[in-house]
C-alpha cells in the first residue's frame, strides 16, 4: 500500500436512471465527521478506572463544489435538497473512472446545499452537506 491521495476519491450521486451514478462536476474537498457519543459504563466499584463504550455514529459529510453548469448531477442535488428527498450517494476511488466496485462508502443520504458564495473576482462556490437517510451499505476505506 501507499499513502492514499485525496484527489483519487470523488463523490458520486445516483442519476435519474436508477442505480446509475455520475460524479458531480467541480468537486473540491470532501470531508466527513463521525461522532460517536461516549457512554460511561463505570460505577464506584470499577476498581479505580472509568470504563466506557461508544454509541451510534453520527455521520456528516461536507463537499466543496466549484459550480460548473450545466451538470444534471448538481441540478438533481438542488432539486433533492429543496424537496427533502433522499438520494443514493457513493465515494469512489479511481477518480473519474471509478466504478461501482470502487465505492468505499455507499449510502442513501439526504443532501442540503448549505452555502453558496458568489465571489468577487472569483467563482461561484457551493457547499453540500450530506446526512445519512439509512445506515451505509459500504463503509471501508481502501
Amino acid at each position: 500500500m501507499a499513502v492514499l491521495l485525496g484527489n483519487a476519491y470523488l463523490a458520486w450521486f445516483e442519476t435519474a436512471t436508477a442505480d446509475t451514478f455520475a460524479a458531480l462536476k467541480g468537486q473540491g474537498t470532501y470531508s466527513e465527521t463521525r461522532s460517536q457519543p461516549k457512554i460511561d459504563t463505570s460505577d464506584k466499584t470499577t476498581t479505580g478506572y472509568s470504563t466506557g463504550a461508544y454509541g451510534n455514529t453520527e455521520y456528516e459529510g461536507s463537499l466543496d463544489v466549484r459550480v460548473n453548469l450545466p451538470d444534471p448531477v448538481y441540478t438533481r442535488i438542488e432539486t433533492m435538497s429543496q424537496s427533502q428527498t433522499p438520494i443514493k450517494f457513493q465515494i469512489r476511488k479511481g477518480g473519474a473512472s471509478g466504478a461501482n466496485g470502487d465505492a468505499i462508502f455507499s449510502a442513501l443520504v439526504n443532501v442540503s446545499i448549505t452555502s453558496r458564495s458568489f465571489n468577487k473576482d472569483g467563482t461561484v462556490d457551493a457547499k453540500i452537506s450530506v446526512a445519512l437517510a439509512a445506515a451505509p451499505t459500504v463503509d471501508a476505506l481502501a
Partner: protein
C-alpha cells in the same frame, strides 16, 4: 386539456420526450416529480414540472412560478401531478 392557473388558462399537450426535458431542467424524471410534488411542493417546483406540458408561447418557468404563487397552489399541483401521471412511463422500481 387545459390547466387553470389563477385567472389564466393554458392549453396542455403531451410532450414527446418528457423525461429528457425534465432531467435537463431538474435532474429528475417525471415519476420522481410525482413523488416530490406529492410530499412538498413550492410554486417553483410545480412550475418546472409543468413547463414541458405547455406551449412555447406560455410563460417561462420563473414567470410561471410567480403565477402559481398567486394562484391556488394545491389545485395547480394536483393538476400537474395528474398530467405527469398520465404522461410518465412506468415508475422506477
Amino acid at each position: 386539456m387545459t390547466i387553470q392557473i389563477g385567472k389564466r388558462e393554458f392549453a396542455t399537450r403531451r410532450p414527446q420526450n418528457l423525461d429528457v426535458q425534465l432531467v435537463e431542467t431538474t435532474g429528475c424524471t417525471a415519476a420522481e416529480h410525482v413523488d416530490i410534488l406529492g410530499v412538498r411542493a413550492t410554486p417553483y417546483q410545480v412550475a418546472r414540472a409543468l413547463r414541458p406540458f405547455l406551449d412555447k408561447e406560455a410563460p417561462a418557468v420563473s414567470d410561471l412560478a410567480t403565477l402559481i404563487g398567486d394562484a391556488d397552489l394545491v389545485q395547480v399541483r394536483t393538476d400537474t401531478v395528474a398530467l405527469l401521471q398520465a404522461a410518465a412511463p412506468a415508475e422506477k422500481d
